[in-house]
Amino acid sequence: MDKSKFQSWLLKILETQDDEISCSLCFDLISQYVDLENDNKAGGEEWEPVRHHLNQCLACRQEYEVLRDLTRLGPDELEPPLDKV
């Protein structure tokens, strides 16, 4: 395990909380969180469990990042450059 991977893992261990929300609950909440974040209204304490889960769960974080970026694109920017494949 290299240094940066170890550091990231150690931080995740030390920031572990006794109660963390599940991936399912994160999925339920993520669309509301993203819309609020896009309106700069997601900073409240009540969203801390979602932010914490996103820091601990790579799979949910990747989905959140795609959702966030997709909802910030204009309608004309949605076509993905699959022609590069």
Partner: protein, 219 residues
């Protein structure tokens, strides 16, 4: 691009009958296809074994599955987000899960467990990890983690930890292999982290000490 609808329009038209409903479902599927394509396009590294046509077909399949999921769960939509944001998350979840499952399909997870000597995977490259100024304390942290994994984690927790943290296997591949769901795998990792954290704290290594010792930056 289909017509622009408000959330209320979407719900009304998807619950209508006849041409109005057909048009809404067609437009919804187009949105889900865009979400699927965008998601796959962001993860092309997982799709290296697929050609362009296969990726486009995968996107179509994901959009179809997402459409089924949206229609099945539409009664759960509470209007707390935009309808389009809500439906996108289904397309993204299904497409990224499909992409992750293409990850190194030739690699067997059981083989990954068998490849190394018992607990050899818990070795670290000390030249890389250890700062000479703090070497003894850093090694103590590493030893604490290693011993906790060996002595306190269950076999399943150890397996999942090795695959996801050490081998970087995508969670969805582990979920598929164990025939379980993401919640269960996340819980296994969470329970393992709890044990590791408690042992580190008992040894006097809290977040502040670790931040200092390993030059960590909080997220």
């Amino acid at each position: 691009m289909g017509k622009v609808r408000s959330t209320e329009d979407w719900l009304k038209e998807l619950n209508a009958t006849g041409d109005l409903q057909v048009e809404a479902i067609t437009d919804l599927r187009e949105i889900l296809l865009r979400g699927s394509l965008y998601s796959l396009n962001r993860n092309l590294s997982d799709l290296a074994n697929l050609n362009r046509d296969e990726i486009l077909q995968l996107a179509e399949d994901c959009a179809q599955d997402a459409l089924m999921a949206v229609l099945e769960h539409i009664h759960e939509f509470r209007g707390e987000s935009k309808f389009t944001t809500w439906v996108y998350k289904f397309a993204i979840n299904i497409a990224l899960t499909a992409a992750r499952r293409e990850w190194r399909k030739d690699v067997s997870l059981d083989q990954l467990l068998e490849d190394s000597e018992p607990y050899e995977w818990l070795s670290a490259d000390h030249h890389d990890l250890i700062n000479p100024d703090h070497s003894l304390l850093q090694q103590e942290v590493w030893e604490t983690l290693r011993e906790t994994i060996r002595a306190e984690l269950t076999e399943k927790q150890r397996q999942v930890l090795k695959w996801i943290v050490f081998d970087e296997v995508p969670m969805d591949v582990v979920v598929q292999h164990l025939r379980t769901n993401r919640n269960t795998v996340y819980k296994m990792l969470h329970d393992a982290r709890i044990k590791l954290k408690r042992r580190l704290l008992m040894q006097g290594f809290g977040t502040d000490e670790a931040l200092d010792l390993f030059s960590l930056n909080k997220v």
